[in-house]
Symmetry: C2
DNA sequence: ACGATGCGTGAGCACTGCTCTCGTTGGGTG
DNA sequence: CACCCAACGAGAGCAGTGCTCACGCATCGT
């Protein structure tokens, strides 16, 4: 049987992260206060340290949760595509990221925004961080396998081909240079667009950001990656 | 003649911003402390408030300076291209942004990173903020005028054409839909790539980020915008 | 049954942004 | 030139922060 302490501990950790998440969405990362969390949970501030050794560790936990959240959103969006058409899958996955960023504004800023100087992402974060890109990569792998892609060939310099080959080996995937480069560029442009929209760089530039995002989406799928 | 006070005031403001900038680059935006600045300048903390009404205003001043800094870097890079070839100008301007981001890591994070919730960019920032994009836009205008551009036509939906037309009217520029859309996409991809590199999202993904950036640069200039 | 360990408490340290009052001093005005 | 207001620096003080530590109590494994 699981002990009373163990259960209470798990619940407390959840409570702390919940309140911290509320503070995060209302006041940003700077507004997450251990003392305020303790106050809201009816405990003394020093008690928090029994569960998180420092404020940084709490934020790290929130980062991990955020990566997991956007990753699982993408996984679900991908799984929901019944006909497994790679073009549809790409659009749905990209849309899920856009939607997630809109619904979790500050969490998005936490993982795709300014990194804290001197704060090296702990090992705990790199696992969840790859969850989203894994969805994207498996999508590309399937596209390659099914031959559902025919992009206009672009010139790729030898040093970049070497870089791509190294990446291919590291990830143990079978995607040719053309598709891999296009996928990489689309990945960056996808989050570049989301960041520009969510961080307000399109103010006074683009009025209907939702529509523009859809445009970028189809453009990337059609002209850059070249899904059939 | 300019008074003693006026001169002293201007110098103090410069001093405060200088020390704040040092703190910014070593400890990030969160590490900028009015009291620490006052200590370093040998004045009492409350004296700072004679020059900046709040910490936020100080940060705003740093943001304005950062926008000005990257803007003037781009202007200089553009002006240094003697033959006025638009392709060369694009590459030099984009490179200047990449270089600036590398040399001013935290300042870059300040303007392209996570926005503070509830912090609406004051009017003071929007002027300097457009300085970089103005360089980019004038480059596109020249390309259009000289006919130095021949991109593969992509499909642009009517609602996006409407958005582009509105943008064209607002900015009072003469760039056709095709080029404007390509420029917009390149702008986003440019800063998306810089952010991914500088914010560490390419760790364990791309080894030689400098080379990859050069690749993206030429790709955007050639395949997306299509400079002659 | 007992000892080690987990846990909540409260005081305390060093720090933060910001406010207020109090003299002093510089600089336009009569 | 004298005067008076505004700008200024100093210092105390308030409310808040992250974090540490010694202290007891409760729980759990032996």
């Amino acid at each position: 049987m699981v002990g009373i302490r163990e259960r209470a501990r798990a619940e407390h950790i959840l409570d702390i992260k919940r309140v911290a998440g509320e503070q995060l969405s209302t006041s940003g990362a700077a507004g997450v206060s251990l003392r305020a969390i303790a106050r809201e949970l009816g405990m003394v501030s020093s008690a928090i340290y029994r569960y998180f050794p420092s404020r940084d560790e709490l934020l790290t936990a929130l980062i991990v949760d955020a990566y997991d959240s956007i990753g699982s959103a993408a996984e679900q969006a991908d799984a929901a595509v019944v006909d497994r058409n790679v073009r549809t899958r790409w659009i749905e996955v990209a849309r899920s990221a856009y939607r997630w960023a809109g619904e979790h504004h500050t969490e998005y800023g936490l993982i795709f925004g300014t990194p804290v100087p001197g704060y090296a992402a702990p090992q705990d974060t790199i696992g969840p961080a790859t969850r989203f890109t894994t969805v994207l990569l498996s999508l590309l792998v399937d596209a390659q396998r099914r031959g559902d892609v025919n992009a206009a060939p672009t010139t790729i310099r030898p040093d970049i081909r070497r870089e791509l080959a190294s990446m291919r080996a590291r990830l143990e995937i079978d995607i040719d240079d053309q598709l891999l480069a296009a996928g990489l560029l689309s990945w960056v442009t996808l989050f570049g667009t989301i960041s520009f929209i969510r961080f307000g760089h399109f103010t006074n530039v683009i009025e209907d950001c939702d529509t523009y995002f859809e445009h970028v989406l189809t453009h990337l799928g059609t002209s850059v990656i070249g899904f059939a």
